[in-house]
């Protein structure tokens, strides 16, 4: 090659291949960077769907009337004091004096009433209202610092409703602008304000200087979206981020033996279960459902597939939810399963379809393949229909066209009621099993209205025993949430809904 031709060629090659390799950037002082599998797509608390990634940010931007700590106990939020009426049909909250919204306007009882009126107003069908509409009848002012919520019927777990993210207190004035989901329109009440938002990439919150409560521990909290599990893990190990959420079971071993990093798992009210569509011939027979329960190797699910991020399930209602009864689940007994199938007259090799929304459930894919092997072992011919989440919902919505299905459910309020009511009706509910036992439905309604805790628990025990007997859903495991935090960082926890709570995080001096 002529001299200058060679030179130009080498220059081009050189430029693209060698870039100065500086070490990966360390975290700035006084800031907390958090690696999340997904960051908020919406910041407006009213549009919030509990348990979604949006809740992580909203718990920092908005205070709720009452706030629950790691143990689930309530402490004062925007409401300084609160009390439940003796008949359990109303709640009174006295609004703290001197607390202000992020735009400096004072938080008044009138503002709180206006906010909840708009949430409950059917016209603007805000998504967050789903948790309130079944219970709350109306909101009234009593004096200039007290707000009274009247309930449709006495509801024991009502207080918890005012600690969930969609109850976040935001300035009613900003509601209109909020709908457009613009960062600048957010006027919250919490310890941090929105500084910068790059959708799908990062959300930066800055400390709210005139917050009424304890001074925010960090100048900035930066929420970064790192959906790829391995990348999120590496970001923590290399110090790029201080906290990561959704640590999968498969990554626990590597994280546990990495220096400078600690792994914590938190219980939740989420149960992962295998549902049976009781309307199809094969699964309409209780004995078949029980046989399938015997066939499931629950130990493999909890201790191999979800090793470290699950506990054995002992009832359809999670042990972390109030009202749980330890009715136990079917032991792993393939022979009994085969006998029951024979007794029910199920021919060997008859077909069973398993609908699995893989990406949506922790260990979903592996559990699907395990169940397939378990059911094939007792003579069935099981096929797995894998769905991504949206197609799965599209199929299930019709309440027909599927047989067995894998799904999970958590009680938003941490109370047995929210683990059972959504399943205790036919039609458009999460009762995809189309389970129809009027007796059980009545017990659940009765329990919801029963204010005496002892009596309420007794009813729930009867319901859970009946559910074990009818076995429309086979509980597989209680899901624990695993997070990774840099050494020296404490106070970070995951609430019963699986939402990462950063409010109480404290960075120990290095």
């Amino acid at each position: 090659m002529k001299h200058n031709d060679q030179r130009s060629l080498m220059k081009a090659l050189f430029a693209t291949s060698v870039i100065a390799l500086t070490p990966i950037s360390a975290m700035a002082e006084g800031d907390l960077t958090v690696g999340l599998s997904a960051i908020a797509t919406r910041l407006d608390a009213q549009q919030l769907v509990t348990g979604s990634a949006d809740a992580i940010a909203s718990s920092l931007i908005y205070d709720t009337l009452v706030i629950r700590d790691a143990k689930g106990a309530f402490r004062p939020g925007v409401a300084e004091t609160w009390e439940v009426a003796p008949d359990g049909k109303s709640l009174r909250f006295t609004i703290r004096d001197g607390a202000t919204f992020h735009d400096g306007t004072p938080i008044t009882a009138a503002a709180v009433k206006a906010l909840f009126d708009s949430t409950l107003d059917p016209a603007n069908n805000s998504l967050g209202s789903g948790a309130y509409k079944p219970y709350v009848d109306g909101v009234a002012l009593a004096g200039d610092r007290t707000v009274v919520f009247t309930l449709k019927y006495p509801y024991a777990a009502a207080l918890a409703l005012f600690a969930i993210p969609s109850g976040g207190i935001q300035s009613p004035g900003s509601l209109g602008a909020q709908k457009l989901n613009e960062a600048k329109a957010v006027v919250g009440s919490g310890p941090y304000r929105v500084a910068d938002w790059v959708p799908g990439d990062s959300l930066t919150l800055e400390a709210n200087p005139d917050y009424w409560g304890a001074k925010p521990a960090f100048d900035h909290i930066i929420l970064r979206e790192i959906p790829e599990n391995e990348s999120r893990l590496l970001a923590l190990e290399t110090g790029e981020v201080g906290v990561i959420n959704n640590v999968p079971a498969t990554s626990l071993p590597t994280l546990q033996d990495t220096p400078g990093v600690q792994v914590q798992t938190f219980p939740s009210t989420r149960i992962q279960y295998l549902g049976f569509n009781t309307k199809i011939p094969l699964l309409s027979d209780k004995r078949v459902r029980q046989a399938l329960n015997y066939a499931i190797d629950r130990d493999a699910v909890v201790n191999t597939i979800l090793a470290g991020v699950a506990n054995p399930a002992t009832s359809f209602v999670s042990s972390n939810a109030w009202g749980h009864a330890d009715v136990g689940t079917y032991p792993y007994d393939p022979d009994k399963a085969r006998a029951l199938l024979q007794e029910a007259g199920v021919a060997a090799g008859s077909k069973l379809e398993l609908a699995v929304p893989e990406a949506y459930l922790p260990g979903g894919r592996q559990i699907g393949e395990l169940l397939q092997a378990n059911f094939n072992a007792i003579g069935l011919d099981t096929t797995i229909n894998r769905y991504e989440w949206s197609t799965f919902q599209g199929v299930m919505e019709a309440h027909k066209g599927y047989e067995a299905y894998l799904l999970g459910w958590a009680s938003v309020t941490g109370d047995a009621d929210r683990s059972l009511t959504p399943f205790s009706a036919l039609g458009i509910t999460v009762n995809f099993a189309n389970y129809d036992n009027p007796q059980v439905f009545d017990w659940v309604k009765e329990a919801a209205g029963q204010t005496d805790p002892a009596l309420r628990k007794a009813i729930y025990r009867k319901v859970q025993e009946q559910l074990k007997e009818d076995a429309p859903w086979a509980p597989l495991a209680e899901i624990r949430y695993a997070i990774g935090t840099a050494a020296g960082l404490s106070g970070v926890f995951v609430d019963h809904n699986g939402v990462l709570v950063l409010r109480d995080a404290i960075q120990a001096a290095p």
């Binding site: 090659m1 002529k2 031709d5 060629l9 081009a12 090659l13 430029a15 693209t16 870039i19 390799l21 500086t22 990966i24 950037s25 797509t41 919406r42 549009q47 769907v49 509990t50 979604s52 059917p122 069908n125 998504l127 209202s129 789903g130 948790a131 509409k133 709908k179 457009l180 989901n181 613009e182 790059v198 959708p199 799908g200 990439d201 970064r224 979206e225 790192i226 959906p227 790829e228 391995e230 990348s231 590496l234 970001a235 290399t238 790029e240 991504e388 989440w389 949206s390 197609t391 799965f392 919902q393 599209g394 199929v395 919505e397 938003v412 959504p422 458009i428 999460v430």
Partner: protein, 308 residues
Amino acid sequence: MIGNVIGRLLQVLPTLFGVLVLVFAMTHVLPGDPARLIAGPEATDAEVAGLRADLGLDQPVGAQFITYLSNLSRGEMGRSLHSNRPVVDELAARLPRTLILTGLALAIMISLGLAAGIISAIKPDSLRDHLLTGLSLTGISVPLFWLGLMLVLVFSYHLRWLPTGGTSSLRGYILPAVTLGLGAAAMLARLMRSSLLDIIHQDYIRTARAKGAREAVVIGRHALRNALIPAVTLIGLEAGILLGGAVIVETIFSINGIGRYLVQSIQYRDYPATQGAVLVIAVIFITVNLLTDLSYGLLDPRQRRGAA
């Protein structure tokens, strides 16, 4: 020259319209209802219906298409069902990342591809030639994301030289661009080699030698210029395929570009977002093809006056 530019543009419009219709039809046929998706399993039927009305999903598909087209003509791509933000803003925020990724991959492709092609064509059937042919054949046989995973395994985990992706710094783009660019470079190397070998047998190469020019000049000036013409076509086509590959690479390296945004919006059944993303990809694709056609004129004077 201008005549055939506009001529080419007019030819492009039906294709673009075809893509739009195809996309609109396809997204609406996908099972799953976006309103339910946003409302979540807890929401009651009434709420979901209300939301659907809000989002205008209750109108017949035909009407939705007409409104979509009229908005589009005003440069308005509607709002994302999922985040309720204007799709134009969402795309604008993500487009630079995809362009940086595909741009870098294109640079890798052109530099490595041309170099390998030329080096192996100069001495055909030499050891160098067989080596590079073997390498380029391997290059086009590697599954894209497997290469990505292997690079992450080596360079991010074990050597800790490069981040596993993310768009914080330019260094986050290196591994993804290499993953995307290598296969394309292999393809370009093969084409460059065969087109150079064909051209070396042409009469005007013999004339150049007869003029007393050095072999380097004969290849560098005379052969290369003519060999670049088919190479430019491939580069044009390849730029389009890179966009397809970007979907996978952006998923592995969690780069928040158009590719990943498109996959997410398909999963969320976010019609406006899906249509917007595909439209942008198709427009990029078609513009690149247009540029390659026009660059013909520069490289190959025979094309200059003839209508495109």
